[in-house]
Amino acid sequence: MKASHVILLVYLLVSVFGAGVCAQTKSMKEMKYGKVSKKDFSSYTPSDTAVAAVFLKKKGITYYNLGMRGNITVESEYEFRLQVLRPEGTEYANVSIPFFRDQRPGYVTERIYGIDAVAYNLVDGKVEETDLERKYIVEEKVSDNVYVMKFSIPNVKPGSIIEYKYKFSSNNPFSLDAWKIQEDIPVLRAQYDLHVPEIFKFNISSKGGRYIERKHSKGNSQMTVIGLGGITRDILTDCYTFTSENVPPLKEEPMVWCKENYRCMVDFEIRAIDIPLDVPAYFRTTWADVCDELKLIDNFGRHFGMRNPLREEQKKLHLDPSLPVAAKAMALRMMLMSYVQWDGEYSLFSDISARQCLEQKHGNNAMLNFIYLSMLKDAGIKATPVLIRQKTMGDLMGIRPSLENLSTFVVGIYDEKNKLMYTDCSIPWCSLNLLPPQLMANLGICFATEAEGTSYTSLADVGRHYQNILVQSEISPDGHLKGSFHATYYGCSAFEHLAWKEQQKDSLNYVQALDRKYEIKVNTFKSELKDGSYTDFMDYEKQLTTGDGVIYFNPFVVDKDIENPFFAEQRTMPIEFPYKYVKKFYGVYKLPEGYEPESLPQPIRLKVEKGGAAISCIVQQKEGSLMAMLDLKVDKTVFPANRNVELRQLWEQLINMSKLQIVLKKKAL
């Protein structure tokens, strides 16, 4: 990011040096850095004995500073006090602070300095201090322009209190680091003071669903603007204080795409520079602005709207104009797939040209999508990039248009009724409305056009994803089960199944794995991949357990290793399913002559109270046959944490029903 030109603008307008700091609130003063008393060692008694350490204090202050040469820097000072409670808590005495440094003139560079740390131990009733030695402060390079400052505080053991502080300086006045309050250990008290000259307007948003006290006042910045004709106007400072108390730890939980979505924090994003006596300059206030900015970025702009690099080849396709849009779009995807493959990377940009991509036969999803968009345009099909943030990176906020928060885009194609269909060229299938789960974001931004502007869309519900198992079999009087087994997977269910198949390395291993999975013996096997679906066709057999004139028979040939993912009693974060799906099993069994089921279970239908997931199970006898049906339907992708128990019960029932045994008994003569 190049900051120099904007800094220059401010330099010309600001005449008085120095940055003012508002008066600090008194509430943190009782925990003054460097003043640890004997009493402090017993000030915290954890209710949870498993807590490794606790942040007694997290304090930060950020202010703007005008240097002697007119350069504006953002200065931050951080202070932390922790108590180590358990042996594993000593790891908090090893501190790593990442920072960015681009040494080219005019580029963003950050600096960590003023590091100080002390360990306090209570020895024979007295507080003993151990200072951090300079030689244990090291700087390491992580990758291009990314560095980390590390230090290890000595003499730290369970019971120790540690304090450390450092200063952080950045030459980029338009970017403020988020104030991350929540940690993976409890935080008793956190306070952040932010003093921003009022010329910098930031969007401030709180995340994490916990209460953060926010105060705002005006202070003196000691800066003055000189306008035309010598008119002067003082610049005030916006002073914010964010205070939080007793913030619980944020721990990993399964079935969460991105933990950061739930972290308690305050986020800042520049909205505008509003210099008194001048016209305010807004920063990307709308998604249309973001789209305009994207067009100006070479790695996006030069590909967007490019000439179709496969136009000659496309002509030879002789695409029938009367075909439905979906059919034409699929034919073009098929053609593109024959020229180029996805290289495994998701991106918003492409460093290489379409020509290079076609030459290499590989490209990231952005490049492939750019080519596809150009092909659709040539074919007269209306399509648009749909900008998204991958789910693994956290949610995109519609109210906060920002280029930084975007990570890639998919292709939206308008059908005859102007309804959007979606695809991404990372998918090796020609199927519309099929996206990898991590691209099925809650919010997508349809790229702005002059005529229509931007619009929002949701990709969370794109496509249908299901698994259908159809079994038709016959049971012989000696308990031998023989028949056909067809399993069809559609959409993301097909992806998952094919990934599992791939793990089995070859078809022999795959068949053996199917034998184990369904507890059957597969005799013949073939598979078919078409129209976004995958089907296994098998002939199978199985010897059922028999007893004294009875045959025990489980009518559900389903995965025997099905697991209940909701075994935890409680959870903190919502439960996120990758996509909505349906799994259906339908079996028809011809019973052996003269046999009948001794009893059949009552039909079962169970659902989560407020909807979103349901199972049903029906077993019926019809003449000499038995029909068995077992369904699981998940039609919501996010459930509140308090639905965990209901989901658990649902899965318990599902697993229990999948083990149902029917007793076939010879009819009495």
């Binding site: 290890s152 003499n155 507890e519 025990y552």
Partner: protein
């Protein structure tokens, strides 16, 4: 025109006049089918040429050309070079060529990415890497680089032509030119050749040439290194950061290592007095050691600092005493110093957590990556893990139990073998006592015991709260875990450590249909996974022995009698036994199962037997128990 230019001109003419198809094959000659089999990339040419110029340094030239056949092979074309205090990357160049042999990308040193990030606090290692971007397959990438070695020649540049099992090697060579008075010792895997040794004046050259390696398969439980070809070599005499030494024998290598320990065991006077005071009233030497080991656990932590010879030399005891942190060497040396103050002699010990057996003819740092402390006592020898002193006193943990180690003292190095435990000591059990109602619901208590290696694996339960424990225990159970509550964890922290979890369980255990209830013999046990067919090319490696025992006592609902009870299962194989027994007596169902796995290396033909063994055990777990409600009972 100078002769060299003339020659170059002739080559240019030849290239330009050769017909196109032939030119392609010159640029990218055929890869034999045998090398394509199972390969995702092929190392076409790899050479390492090292010249030792002094006792402490030299120069090595590397050249590598890899043809990437498909996307999976891309990783095999990555360039990684790590240097530090003892070596520096001097030159680098390279290029990417398409399948016609035309260079499409030229690589310079500025194309390399750099990182100095270390996993600990700091080290002097500096990583250069280049992640080769995908190109139209097949394509080739060539790297040429030169490296300067200085400050010490403890090892020679290693020769790893193959970086993974799915890479084959067409032609590779390794040449070491060393002063005539230096002998080279080495070990190799899959190379199958001895070096040709020639003399040129004052230099001796060890050359391995014409090395070709086929791609292989991942091994089941085997370590990844065992399936690739490599040569590791080192001089018998060396100098490192001013410390001269010999490594022709383990004894001589130990003499050098002992030099690094000299003068590093002094403790401040007040610390000595503290140690004396702490141990004064101890009833025995073992008691003294225990007191100091506990002191180490309560006061120190692991922090890694690897700078220069500090990679092999411990931080002095006084510094560790002051900072209360250190790496394995520093903490071991500190403990040794404390024991010395208490009048207890101990021996600094080098070991590998990766390699169980130390190669007898290649002494040196190649095989050693950890330090522990040996405390010889009249009755027994104690092995102290000072890096994690929270482990039970006297327990030899599973990363080192049964491993070879080098004791270091004034007499030099001496190889010993640490004690190992019988397979049956690594025991994990689930004992469930439950009551079943007529709807198949159960309530009960489960006791989960974990001894030795399983103790280590479940140790984290001690530091968890109830919510975390419920999640952890639920995850250990297969299928439909019961609801878990009231978890109580106890630890037996002695030389045979055990962690016991006792918790309440409830949930549906049986399915009811009509007059019958159906139960599964062992619904919760997770068994080892079968070995994939691809690994059957190698012997069957069972690296961990264990005894898994499960008992289930079920008080049956009134009126239910057994209709079907699975027959007993008893399997006996060289690698293990499995027993499953189900009985019903006086309204109580009793399931007893045990599986003993004997660690070892078994012939590759045994893979099928092993898989069958696991399948049979799994089948016995899933066997069905049928209970019948007697007429007249509700």
């Amino acid at each position: 025109m100078k002769p060299l230019a003339l020659f170059a001109g002739w080559i240019l003419w030849l290239v330009c006049t050769v017909p196109a198809p032939l030119r392609a094959s010159v640029a990218n000659p055929e890869i034999p089918d045998s090398l394509k089999r199972g390969a995702c990339s092929v190392v076409r040419d790899y050479s390492v040429e090292f010249v030792q110029k002094s006792a402490t340094g030299g120069e090595a030239q590397f050249r590598k050309t890899v043809t990437v056949l498909n996307a999976e092979g891309l990783e095999g074309a990555t360039f990684i070079h790590v240097d530090g205090h003892f070596s520096k990357l001097k030159k680098f160049k390279g290029g990417i060529s398409n399948s016609q042999g035309k260079q499409v990308v030229k690589l310079r040193r500025s194309d390399l990415k750099e990182s100095t990030l270390s996993s600990g606090l700091t080290s002097d290692s500096h990583t250069y890497y280049y992640e080769c971007p995908p190109y139209s397959y097949p394509f080739s990438v060539t790297y040429e680089w030169t490296c300067d070695y200085s400050n010490g020649m403890l090892v020679y540049p290693d020769f790893y032509p193959q970086i993974s099992y799915n890479q084959s090697v067409q032609n590779a060579s390794y040449r070491l030119s060393v002063p005539g008075n230096v002998d080279v010792i080495y070990r190799s895997n899959r190379i199958g050749k001895t070096p040709e040794v020639t003399r040129h004046g004052e230099y001796k050259t060890y050359a391995w040439t014409g090395i070709s390696l086929t791609a292989s398969h991942p091994a089941y439980n085997g370590d990844a290194r065992s399936v690739v070809g490599y040569i590791e070599s080192e001089p018998t005499v060396f100098e490192c950061d001013g410390y001269e030494g010999r490594q022709d024998t383990w004894q001589n290598f130990g003499i050098w290592k002992n030099k690094l320990l000299q003068g590093r065991d002094n403790l401040p006077e007040d610390e000595k007095q503290k140690i004396i005071a702490m141990t004064r009233d101890a009833s025995s030497p073992v008691e003294k050691i225990r007191i100091l080991y506990d002191y180490l656990a309560r006061n120190t932590r692991y922090v890694s600092i690897q700078l220069g010879i500090g990679g092999w030399q411990p931080i002095d005891a006084a510094t560790v005493c002051r900072t209360k942190f250190g790496d394995c060497k520093g903490l071991t040396n500190y403990m040794k110093a404390m024991l010395a103050v208490a009048g207890i002699p101990s021996v600094y010990t080098c070991i590998s957590v990766e390699e169980k057996r130390l190669c007898p003819h290649l002494p040196g740092v190649h095989q050693l990556d950890h330090a522990i402390l040996c405390v010889p006592l009249p009755a027994d020898t104690l092995w102290l893990e000072c890096t994690n002193a929270y482990l039970p006193f006297g327990y030899v943990h599973s990363d080192i139990a049964g491993h070879d180690a080098m004791l270091v003292d004034d007499n030099g190095g001496r190889l010993v073998r640490l004690p190992d435990y019988p397979d049956s000591c690594h025991r994990q059990s689930f004992h469930t006592r439950m009551q079943l109602d007529a709807q198949g619901n159960m309530t009960g208590v489960m006791t989960h015991r974990n001894a030795m290696r399983y103790y280590e694996k479940t140790l984290s339960l001690l530091s968890m709260n109830e919510k975390q424990r419920v999640r952890e225990l639920g995850g250990m159970l297969q299928g439909n875990p019961p609801r878990i509550s009231s978890v109580h964890v106890t630890e037996r922290k002695d030389s045979v450590p055990q962690l016991t979890c006792r918790f309440a369980v409830m949930g549906q255990c049986g399915t009811v249909n009509g007059n019958r209830m159906f139960l599964t013999v062992n619904p919760y046990r997770r068994r080892p996974s079968v070995s994939p067919v691809a690994s059957h090319a190698y012997p069957l490696y069972l690296t961990e022995g264990s005894l898994l025992t499960d008992t289930l006592e079920v008080l049956l609902p009134a009126g239910y009698v057994p209709e079907r009870i699975p027959k007993p299962v008893s399997l006996t194989q060289p690698f293990g036994t499995f027993i499953s027994n189900v009985t019903v007596r006086d309204g109580r169902l009793l399931v007893c199962q045990s599986m003993l796995v004997r660690k070892g290396t078994y012939p590759r033909e045994m893979h099928a037997l092993w898989n069958e063994f696991l399948n049979q055990a799994g089948k016995a777990d899933r066997e069905m128990i049928v209970l019948l409600r007697k007429e007249g009972e509700s």
